[in-house]
Symmetry: C2
Subunit: 369 residues, 2 copies
């Protein structure tokens, strides 16, 4: 977490811990700070404060977004488990992606049925960093809405996007993206864990997952997470303020590492869209390598990389994202997911590149011994 | 929040922010700290760590507990809104209480139908502090289970209790209470907001409210709230360690204020069970008084008291708890809910008593002018 985010949150653990629904003045001041934070968040994503539902993270936001659909739902094969599994509770279609992990507009159009109510496609993928053509998808959905109206089909068609991975690197203005529902997660922008939001256009009627005190306009009961939302606002403001320069900086670091690694291993496979990829994401696979052994060797040198996503990595299962882009198991098992952020510099990137090259070489040598 | 709780949490916002599902050593250390905190919490309530589901607070825990019931549910009329409203999504009975807010075993027995699956009764009430005869209820439920078995009725009958209000003042050992499901909330014990747990006996099969990465044994998806759970453990340990002496201390403070207030206003109505009431709770009503005016006058003198519960207070609605104990509106509207805690001392209690007496007198005089 960004130290400035922690500093912003601390008073709400201490002197300003009041329940914002309490009637006395210090609690009313907490309510005001909470609402002001939501106003600021809303302004930054181009929405209104009363269109925001603060949640315990992206998983809850995604579930809330999908829960409101009664009919058919379409999700991309590369979506996060929360999207895939929430969709599985509905009549659903899982949409294939191309070798770069992108959704095809043609395929999507063909998957949309007259009773399709919701399409959920992440702004950017958490493993390979591929950015989806969300605006084009939104434009197509707009056309289909017009067609439906002409045909007398009154079924709503909504677009939800989990933009957790894009925040701080991509434009997340809801009107420019063309979404009806948007999920964000504080922990993906140097904010606290377990703080998320679902933005829903005022025309969407959400169905609560939790019953209770009726907080968040009745959609999400439970005493408000004041410190968490203050932290969310501060984190979003901080990453938004330096977004352009940070994207440049991360792109440069990634490019430097990419050059070094592909020079050392010309056969390595780069995944993710060559152009439409998050600046901070580098996904590289070394066929037949045991990436886990490399990961542990690197770790002892202070270089922390991942294999699949954190969830999959922990369960010894193969990444559904790599499967969806058609990667063979022997390549997938040799994959490193390398992400750059705040703490990355040209110095530690150069050191990390050298360490990765040495450890991959060592592992290949061990295999051929 | 207790400063020591904040201190315990801080590293998990900083150097130990890793996702506990990541594979590298610093993340594995975070996983271990997370699991150790759950082990400690489980030990303190007499359960096992794998019977705990960490949630975003009592509201989510309560919803999770009630969600698993398919059949008939019974809840007391004085339950928190989260229990009442979650029960309303089921076939349910709302059980009346006596003038002290206690459930009658006879009434409960008569409300139990052959298809009743769940009874949810809070250990102690959040407004009037009445403690329920939970052990007696548990003993009766055990008898009914035996009867059901004899009758060939295989319907499960489970007891859930929201013990959020009792923690730090009452025994919350699950076996001694005799419950099958228990809800706790960190914010009610000087811990962080939006951190709760549901303990469920290993014989209870919970139905997830959220789909996703499959954390908390598949019952509650979403990256674990490591800092929050570390804070929960520390808060629980701290309040448990000094429980007996703190109960004595709070009882003495409350008794001192009770004596002063009832001496000044012999007609004031004390609510809550005279014997079975939380040590830190004093609920007093001044008939025909506008309690809100008194509340604001007190606030300007640094004395923070409440009227109804925080939720109800904010919405201008009358407390359903006071209605359930049969209090007339003109008495209910003159109610002050006074709670004692960490920051209460004999000095500030004496000052608060004097301030309350003066402001209630001033308000009565204004009314009769």
């Amino acid at each position: 977490m960004d130290e400035r985010v922690i500093t912003a949150m601390l008073p709400y653990f201490q002197v300003a811990f009041f329940n914002p629904s309490s009637p006395y003045a210090p609690a009313v001041a907490v309510r005001r700070a909470y609402e002001a934070a939501k106003e600021s968040i809303a302004r930054q994503i181009g929405g209104k404060a009363d269109e925001l539902v603060m949640t315990a993270g992206a998983t809850e936001s995604v579930n809330l977004a999908i829960h409101q659909a009664a009919g058919h739902v379409i999700v991309a094969a590369t979506e996060h488990h929360s999207v895939l599994r929430a969709a599985q509770t509905k009549d659903h279609t899982i949409l294939d992606v191309d070798e770069h992990g992108r959704v095809s507009l043609d395929h999507l159009r063909r998957a949309i049925r007259p009773d399709t109510e919701l399409i959920s496609i992440a702004l950017a993928n958490n493993e390979i960093g591929t950015i989806q053509p969300l605006r084009d998808i939104a434009a197509m959905i707009k056309e289909i809405r017009i067609e439906r109206r002409a045909q007398g089909n009154s079924t709503r068609l909504l677009l939800h996007s989990d933009a957790s991975q894009g925040v701080g690197q991509l434009d997340i203005h809801v009107a420019r993206l063309g979404v009806d529902l948007l999920t964000l997660n504080a922990a993906k922008m140097y904010g606290p864990k377990q703080v998320g939001l679902l933005w829903a256009s005022s025309q969407v009627v959400l169905r609560p997952l939790l019953a209770g005190g009726g907080q968040e306009h009745g959609v999400r009961s439970g005493t408000e997470n004041v410190a968490g939302v203050i932290g969310f606002e501060r984190a979003l403001t901080l990453v938004s303020d330096r977004r352009e320069s940070e994207v440049q900086r991360l792109e440069t670091l990634k490019e430097a590492m990419r050059k070094e690694l592909t020079a050392a291993f010309p056969d390595a496979v780069l995944s993710g869209h060559p152009k439409h990829q998050l600046a901070g994401h580098l996904h590289i696979s070394f066929a037949h390598l045991d990436a886990e052994r490399v990961l542990f060797a690197l770790e002892s040198r202070g270089v922390l990389v991942a294999t699949g996503s954190a969830c999959a990595a922990n369960k010894g299962t193969r990444s559904h994202v790599l499967e969806a882009i058609g990667m063979s198991p022997e390549v997938a098992d040799g994959s490193l997911r390398i992400t750059f952020g705040h703490l990355s510099s040209s110095e530690n990137t150069a050191l990390a590149s050298r360490a990765i090259i040495e450890e991959v070489k060592r592992e290949y040598e061990r295999m051929h011994r």
